[in-house]
């Protein structure tokens, strides 16, 4: 893994850039407040006597920094998010407050979507079988798993998932985010301790908060820090009473999509055994995309799935579908099936979505055609390494692990975030850019998501574009 440090001069220039934007943000707020400027924002009637709905400072950033460059986000597309796609062009006449469509579209190389194995297709076996499932079962069950929402398709899906990840049993949910936020509260509660990586996804954070357990964070992927914190909190026990913890749950992700890093799973398993903690592994990005057989980070490190107490993952990134699963011992899954909020309140997974997962998972497992799954996995692994190596050769600062299918390229200055996205799109490459507060203030970045659907020619085209834009914006900071 590489996390090259930000050059000091660039860090200072980045702060200055944000400082200038904040100064002009306050000036703009002042002028809008006294109606010198057109104020499209929703404003409340002050004399209404109610508690104010909006705390204006909290949306300062959105109003004055993000709004100026928000054409780079939430771009509507008019095709399937495959290796290439079509973006619907928009225009703004008031500097980002409102947009209107121009009626044209732009064809671009897609390095922004999570489509690791290229299953985001509207033709082929998966699409046909999903269509048949729609005709057979209808688009939705309109009921929860606890009531009428159980289909044979769901049972088939869950048994296939259990076989795929190598555990006793599994349960599937219609939404990836909810798989974390609605099930962690069934596993831990008051009197328990959660040790969470500081860069965990917000669904894990929300689930941990909902549970009411004591939450402590450890430095990102830092096993020494994790061990030290485990030791200290076990010795201290619960706050005030110092009673021993009922349960200790370590929550980590397989691939951190913002960092491009891969969890050090053997280390985490060693620590969990040593300190008798439980391990919750969120494989949202790694399932299907990592490992020689595509079984995720457990397969990548060659660990035994039995050593991971709760295997969680989503079907969004590698299977061209949606939703999430939790796998583990049959006892655990039966318990979750009974207690989970999702199983009780949310309508069950839509049949065509479930069918898409089954079809794509069978392709990866080589059930019908052994070669195709291997080809996709091999293509993704090769693309990831090749793309990352070439970018590093060009002189960009790239974060993360060489095998990660997500490649973050550091941009630093706030203006370069927008410039990079716009210049790349102008040249036919669409990618995702991320800035503060989703990343540390001096680590804004562009994030490239590789896909098994990308050919070498496409990768080379993308590299040429990035090289050109990188020279124009002078982004080649690596020393």
């Amino acid at each position: 893994e590489s996390f090259e440090e930000t050059p000091l001069i660039i860090a200072i220039l980045t702060y200055l850039g944000y400082g200038i934007l904040i100064v002009f943000g306050h000036i703009g707020d002042f002028l809008r407040k006294w109606n010198v400027f057109y104020n499209p924002l929703v404003t409340e009637k002050v004399e209404s006597g109610f508690v104010p709905l909006y705390q204006s400072f909290e949306s300062f950033y959105t109003r004055n920094l993000y709004r100026r460059i928000r054409d780079c986000w939430n771009r509507p597309i008019s095709s399937v998010p495959g290796a290439t796609f079509e973006i619907i062009d928009r225009k703004t006449s008031d500097r980002g407050w409102t947009f209107h469509f121009t009626g044209t579209t732009t064809k671009a190389l897609n390095m922004g979507s999570y489509n690791y194995l290229g299953f985001a297709e509207n033709k082929g076996r998966c699409a046909d079988e999903s269509q048949q499932a729609t005709e057979l079962y209808g688009p939705s069950t309109c009921s929860t798993r606890h009531e009428l929402g159980n289909l044979s398709l769901h049972k088939e899906l869950e048994s296939l998932v259990a076989e795929f990840i190598g555990v006793e049993s599994a349960i599937a949910f219609g939404m990836g985010f909810a798989t974390n936020s609605m099930n962690i509260p069934t596993l831990v509660g008051k009197g328990c301790l959660i040790l969470s990586d500081e860069l965990n996804h917000s669904s894990l954070i929300l689930g941990a908060r909902l549970s009411g357990a004591v939450i402590k964070t450890f430095k990102h992927n830092n096993m020494e820090d994790l061990e030290e914190k485990l030791k200290n909190y076990i010795i201290d026990g619960q706050p005030h009473t110092h009673r021993p913890w009922k349960k200790i749950l370590i929550i980590v992700e397989g691939v951190y999509s913002m960092e491009g890093s891969i969890v050090k799973l053997p280390e985490v398993i060693r620590l969990k055994k040593k300190y008798k903690a439980y391990l919750y592994l969120d494989e949202a990005h790694s399932i299907g995309a990592l490992g020689p057989r595509g079984r995720g980070v457990v397969d990548y490190w060659g660990c035994d799935p039995k050593n991971v107490d709760i295997m969680m993952g989503t079907f969004t990134k590698s299977f061209g579908s949606a939703g999430g699963y939790i796998g583990g011992s049959k006892k655990l899954i039966d318990f979750i099936r009974l207690k989970s909020h999702s199983a009780c309140y949310a309508s069950s997974m839509s049949p065509p979505v479930a069918q898409q997962i089954i079809s794509s998972m069978k392709v990866i497992m080589g059930v019908n055609d052994p070669a195709e799954g291997k080809k996709r996995l091999g293509q993704l692994a090769w693309n990831s390494r090749y793309f990352r190596r070439r970018l590093q050769e060009m002189g960009f600062i790239i974060y993360g692990n060489i095998d990660s299918p997500v490649v973050p390229l550091l941009l630093f200055c706030p203006a370069k975030i927008a410039a990079f996205s716009r210049e790349c799109l102008k040249r036919g490459l669409a990618t995702v850019v991320v800035g503060f507060p989703a990343t540390p203030i001096i680590e804004s970045r562009a994030r490239f998501c590789l896909s098994g659907a990308h050919t070498k020619e496409m990768i080379d085209t993308a590299l040429e574009i990035i090289d050109d834009v990188g020279s124009l914006l002078s982004l080649k900071y690596s020393r």
Binding site: A11, I12, Y15
Partner: protein, 130 residues
């Protein structure tokens, strides 16, 4: 405040502000230092001790919405390196301003008054006090 280069940037911005005042020919050196000191302290008082919450939405369900920036710094841990740094800078500025104003009485009143304005809210005893 504890990320890389932030302290250097802070010192550069203070130096730049001082240089702007020094560049105005109608200001004496003493006046330039007093203005630097007073304006720096006023800005830091507003930024650290008046502004509450965060300038963007956070996932903590509004837990820090009524906490000032100073109280949110380093998750509320007292005497962290950043807090020490932010406490020391106004004091050094005060010494410099006093020296360059040759300990003139009027300048001293303004400089010491503005120094107290930024030192008192930083006391741990006043954490969360309104």
């Amino acid at each position: 405040f504890s990320s890389r280069g932030m302290w250097v940037t802070y010192i550069l911005v203070v130096a730049f502000i001082h240089y702007v005042f020094l560049s105005l020919p109608f200001l004496s050196v003493a006046m330039a230092w007093t203005l630097t000191n007073v304006i720096h302290n006023m800005l830091m008082f507003i930024i650290l001790h008046i502004e509450k919450g965060t300038p963007f939405e956070t996932a903590d369900q509004g837990k820090f919405r009524y906490r000032t920036v100073w109280e949110q710094l380093d998750y509320g841990i007292q005497f962290s390196p950043s807090r020490k740094f932010l406490t020391i800078v106004p004091i050094i500025l005060f010494f410099l301003a006093s020296f360059y104003t040759k300990y003139d009485y009027y300048h001293f009143v303004f400089n010491s008054g503005s120094l107290l304005l930024v030192l008192i809210p930083k006391l741990p005893q006043l954490d969360g006090v309104r």
